[in-house]
């Protein structure tokens, strides 16, 4: 796969209390690609994501955003180019949905009509009715909250989007709809996406590449077909089969 290197980890690892949560690994995330990091709970996928954001410092190796190494000093600045969505949404309850979305833009002093226009754009993109934005997060449904969280992540138009089980808390029908919308949005915006999930269906549907992890180690990387056809070890087949995802899904 060719394409500019947007995000890269080089030989990063992390341990807590002597226990290796992430074994040394390297990977390049290329522009416009959606990489899904999948695996059972405790496999290190969330740790990887947090290393990409600088919320954790790696014990070894480096994280690079556009070739610039991510450090404690520049993390604040570099994070402006990374959007982050988590399972619970992470919306601040004391702000309306709209204020949540425009928080950073307001803080940085962007002109208010530019902000308003951008919010309108994003609301259309995620199919969020404008009047809902005046509500507080507690008054929104789970699906609506995730849409707002996505708007917030995209507000400054960051090149990279990191998502940690974004649809995990939603009921199946909403999840289905949102998966479709996400796929369209990713394609339209040409974002570099790293999405963590344990759902292989979702992984297959959204990913250009799957990183399958287990016990802090990358077991295999590739498309779902590649994983099914040439599994690196028995675990790969077992994990996919356990979710009854072995019937080949036509990628949309």
């Amino acid at each position: 796969m060719t394409g500019a290197r947007v995000l890269a980890v080089e030989n990063v690892s992390k341990s807590f209390d002597g226990h290796a949560v992430l074994q040394p690994m390297s990977h390049v995330f290329r522009v416009g690609q959606t990489t899904v990091v999948a695996g059972p709970s405790g496999c290190g996928k969330t740790t990887l994501l947090r290393l990409l954001l600088g919320l954790l410092q790696p014990d070894t190796g480096t994280v690079r955003l556009d070739a610039e190494e991510l450090t404690v000093a520049n993390a604040g600045r570099l994070r402006l180019r990374v959007g982050y969505v988590i399972q619970q949404g992470g919306l601040f309850p004391h702000l309306t949905a709209r204020d949540n979305v425009s928080l950073m833009a307001d803080y940085m002093g962007h002109p208010s009509d530019a902000v308003r226009a951008r919010i309108g754009e994003l609301a259309e993109l995620v199919r969020m009715p404008a009047e809902m934005l005046a509500r507080f997060p507690q008054s929104l449904s789970g699906g609506q909250r995730q849409r707002v969280a996505l708007m917030r992540a995209l507000m400054l138009d960051p090149p990279v989007l990191l998502m940690d089980e974004p649809l995990g808390a939603l009921d199946p029908m909403i999840r289905f709809d949102l998966q479709q919308e996400l796929k369209e949005i990713f394609a339209r915006l040409n974002k570099t996406v790293v999405l963590v999930t344990h759902d292989m269906h979702e992984a297959a549907y959204l990913a250009s590449e799957i990183l399958l992890m287990r016990g802090g180690r990358v077991v295999q990387r590739g498309s779902l077909d590649a994983l099914l056809d040439s599994p690196a070890e028995a675990f790969v087949t077992d994990f996919i089969r356990a979710q009854r995802a072995d019937a080949r899904l036509a990628s949309q």
Binding site: L55, R77, Y84, H94, T96, P137
Partner: protein
Amino acid sequence: MNGPRAFHRFSLRGLLLGVLPCWLAFCGGGLAWADELKVGSKRFTESYILGEIVAQTAARAGAAVTHRPGMGNTAVLFEALKAGGIDVYPDYTGTIARQLLRTEATDLETLNRGLSEFGLGVAAKLGFNNTYALALRETAAQRLGIAAISGLAGHAELRFGLGHEFMERNDGWPGLRELYALPQTPAGLDHGLAYEAIAAGQIDVMDIYSTDAKIGRYALRVLEDDKRYFPEYEAVLVYRLDVVQRFPQAWQAITGLQSRIDAQAMIAMNARAELDGVAFADIAAGFLGDSQARETGSGGFLGKLFGPDFWRLTGQHLLLVFGSLAAAVVVAIPLGIWAARSEAAGQVILSIVGVIQTIPALALLVFLIPLLGRIGTLPALVALFLYSLLPVVRNTHSGLTGIEPSLRESALALGLPGFARLWRIELPLAARTILAGIKTSAVINVGTATIAAFIGAGGYGERLVTGLALNDHALLLAGAIPAAALALLVQWSFDLSERRVVADGLRDVR
């Protein structure tokens, strides 16, 4: 406009609205301080009365006088006198010698020599000795022909009922028995019950202070200490030496009180206060031959509750509570933020404010007076400030550390720098808890502020102090009820203000 901007507007405004008037009142009160003769007194009936007599004597001689009654104890008064917070107060030669100068000699020359290094002196032996004594029913004394303690030696059948403290002190019963060769074995008895017991004839001899109010009413005879066992506690006035130049006429009038009050007169005045419930000012006026009856709130409970001092006391109490609270909030919230940021700092900070909380209030006040060089409002404010810290620090700390980690992480991930995170995300989320801490401090302060009266800072405590000394239940209630009502009012207004300070989104919106 809602959310973070609204929060900032209201909380800043609220802070200013609360703090400004308090400090204005404080400064205004300080400015209205021309040179007045300040008379102090201790927290018991006799001292109140003598203080009033001195104050009224000076006033009649034309001086501007104020009486700061019921200060905590000898230590407080001494510090106040040295610092100039008061100019004169009544005390006893034995107390001055033993407690203040740590000597034995009680003659005026020795005392004056010892006090002069502090710029102080003693003068005007008022004419009575208030020391430990033994008393007998008058009827029994006449029948047995006993007028002095040595007369008890020949009557082994007499039953003694003595207070526990008196029985245990070295300079109490043991030494007395030895000196007078008394054969009796006393029973230990609570002092308050002893009066009833002696009146009922269950005991014959009890220990008392020689000017106790009940002596006359219970028809007791105070036995003469003919072998001079008990130390001398002659009533005198302790004063700042500069009073002589500052108030020459008043001072002359005051020294004219020398030898004008004998033991019988003092007993009678004490009795009028404690047993008849007459106000101190009236008793003093009566002694000085003032026929004008002063209009004081000595009529009934409601009269005492809404007496003429009500607004002054309320103003003082509010100043004490909110002046100290405002300062505490300004200091405690940053301390709480620091404690939340750093676990090591947090342990130290929380421990320190926790320990401060355990210091007994009166001890803290006595310590602060020489440190600050005055009595009254300032040391009281400082003490209340210190006591207000813990709830606010602790609640700020727990409010911040209690924020869901995923929210804190989201704020970090957005790229918001540290201070912006604190101001826009963390403090608004912790606002409800912090406000609860401030409310707790305020309500506690209303109660604790009553001790300010012990050092002359006024407030509702003044009524409690007087009521305690006089054993006047109505006056006690007249001090306690407004304090309780104020506490409820404070709690209620905080509940109201929560609506303005805590963001809409954080209240239960259905």
